[in-house]
Symmetry: none
Subunit: 210 residues, 4 copies
């Protein structure tokens, strides 16, 4: 019966709508601040469906987190840095990281929320661990090729570099409100953003330079 198929498809669609709505709400208000009612409404789904598909609010948050992390790790993989010269690859990675944060501001608040809760929602996900391992490997390979090519100095810890690349973009954006207010300069004008990206590229390239 085609109706069965339709129903199955609807189920998937409902689940996807809930996940999308939940991501927005959790990012906007945190785990504690987001409202199950609001998520259901924005998902155009019945509240009961959330419990049916995701168990409870915390498990929904876990699902949202996993989805968010897999998205960025997938996008990173699609960059195919291996096919670029190492220095070009490094700049591409810095730019990508920056642009991803800019285009997905929800990712940053979700990660903050995950850490406010001491990461306990991430613990079960082996998928994320695997993806993370592969990601570090990519950076390591970039560094190795750079050393080989004579453009990067040797002895750089890929893990630390990865953290720094993320940090200098992430911190600027997550703290853009306090920054804008306390330092009395708008962090989000096009000029300010361009300046920051340039400063960050310069920073990393000086750090890795041979």
């Amino acid at each position: 019966m085609q109706s069965t198929k339709a129903r199955t498809r609807d189920a998937e669609a409902t689940k996807a709508r809930i996940l999308a709505a939940a991501k927005i709400e959790f990012a906007r208000l945190g785990l504690g601040g987001a409202r199950v009612d609001e998520i259901a409404e924005k998902a155009e789904a019945n509240k009961r469906m959330i419990y049916h598909y995701f168990g409870n609010k915390e498990d929904l948050f876990t699902a949202v987190l996993e989805d968010a992390y897999l998205d960025i790790r997938t996008a990173e993989q699609e960059l195919q840095l291996d096919e670029l010269p190492p220095d070009e690859g490094m700049v591409t990675l810095i730019k990508f990281t920056w642009d991803y944060y800019l285009d997905h501001p929800e990712f940053i608040t979700l990660v903050n929320s995950a850490n406010l809760h001491k990461g306990k929602h991430l613990e079960k996900s082996d998928k994320l661990k695997t993806a993370s391992r592969r990601y570090i490997a990519t950076i390591q390979s970039l560094l190795d090729r750079g050393v080989e090519a004579g453009v990067f100095r040797s002895g750089i810890d890929a893990g630390q570099l990865n953290i720094t690349i993320a940090a200098i973009g992430y911190y600027y954006l997550t703290n853009r409100f306090s920054g804008t207010i306390l330092f009395e300069r708008d962090y989000m004008t096009k000029e300010a953003l361009d300046n920051r990206l340039a400063f960050n590229i310069d920073t990393i390239m000086r750090v890795v330079a041979a």
Copy 2:
């Protein structure tokens, strides 16, 4: 003992205990997650006193934030970087920032919370703006003296450098849970912490090097 009773009728002391307890709770659970009841209990104060002294939960959060920011800005000022040679001053600043974050993990979560709420609790505080301005001026003067002494290159934006110095420590610590889990290495062992600090000093010194 009468001294006990006397203490419970000391307005300033009560206010201080509330502020301290609130800082801990807001840092631990965020604005939305912290409970007024819990804060009162931990402050060994009556809940009513919170409203009497601070108006409401949000205003208490504002007071906590202001207190937290003033504390770090005051501590920075006490470093008296002006009296050190520029390169030594820079290292001192990086170390101080890192140590302050380590010793005051509540500061990081409070700042995250403030930004989750788009910084609106910071807006009214002119005191913080003044302190922030003075802080940037300190870094600028450090850079200027470094250029003069020939140890730093010229043209470095003090604001951007400040952000980067904060970022590379802050990000590591705020995301230590997700990092520890996803990258499967403990971020908080003494060795890991020492490594990170060394990496950060190296990073900044390469960035400012003449």
Copy 3:
């Protein structure tokens, strides 16, 4: 019994029970004095349902007021005064007003509460304005027919007369406690009530007499 359970899942019935319980409580204790908990309990409903169906306490009060006013205006309309001779119609109206107040003591306290709050809960209701207009028109037509029949004098303002008819019953009943205590005579014995009604009929008939 399943019927019991069924009833507890009947939205309309729950809503009606809440409205009825709220009317009693608001009449008894005023808007400020009534307790949402008590209303819920007396309605055999969950407190949460009050907020679900009525929004909040003030809106529930508004709903109660509207319901109370519509009830008396509907009952008045059902008198069909147009089908009676004008003098008989006038007496019928006076008696009805008196009896309605006696049978619905909650109406009086609700109107008092509405006015204590400067009528703001009535403002939105166009239904009540329409019903009120129709009511005044009824009195006007009674007066007109009386003048035509030579039993009433002309020139009587229907609005003022309406107020007086209401006033002489309403005041007696709303202030029956202070009256009984200060004037040391029981306002609520059958004899006292009969006397008052007779006095009121006499008063109005003298006022409208040709």
Copy 4:
């Protein structure tokens, strides 16, 4: 010592300020709605003084009520209706009642509040009973003199007439908000007030006319 005297006077003044502030607040918000804090603040007195002088909130309400009633009864007595011709005396009484309500809107809401609480705050006051008795006697004497003079008919119950005189003014004013909104005409313009007073004088004079 004069300082003793000064202190005594301050005590009386404080008490008076509390009473005045309480009258305003109870009139504005009812017994349940008024706030002890607010009364203390508006009385420019310490909250503790309220408890010192009046015992508790309910007793303060009782004191306010007694004060309010004594005020109108005293003012009525000062009219010296006995010295006027009966018909003139009657008009004077009607006008006085109306004007007093207009000038002391707090009296009306206080009486409403007293009756919402079933008059229990009035029960203890013998002073008020005496004053009320004297007031009815005044009206009775007015009626008697009118009958004697041939201007009033005989057989009118002074108690009922008193109620009606009060009712037709009181009801109009206490329900001015609902009236203005539902009947869509402003009850409080000078013209509307003049019209109502004229209507009321006309009503009573027709009722008592020989």
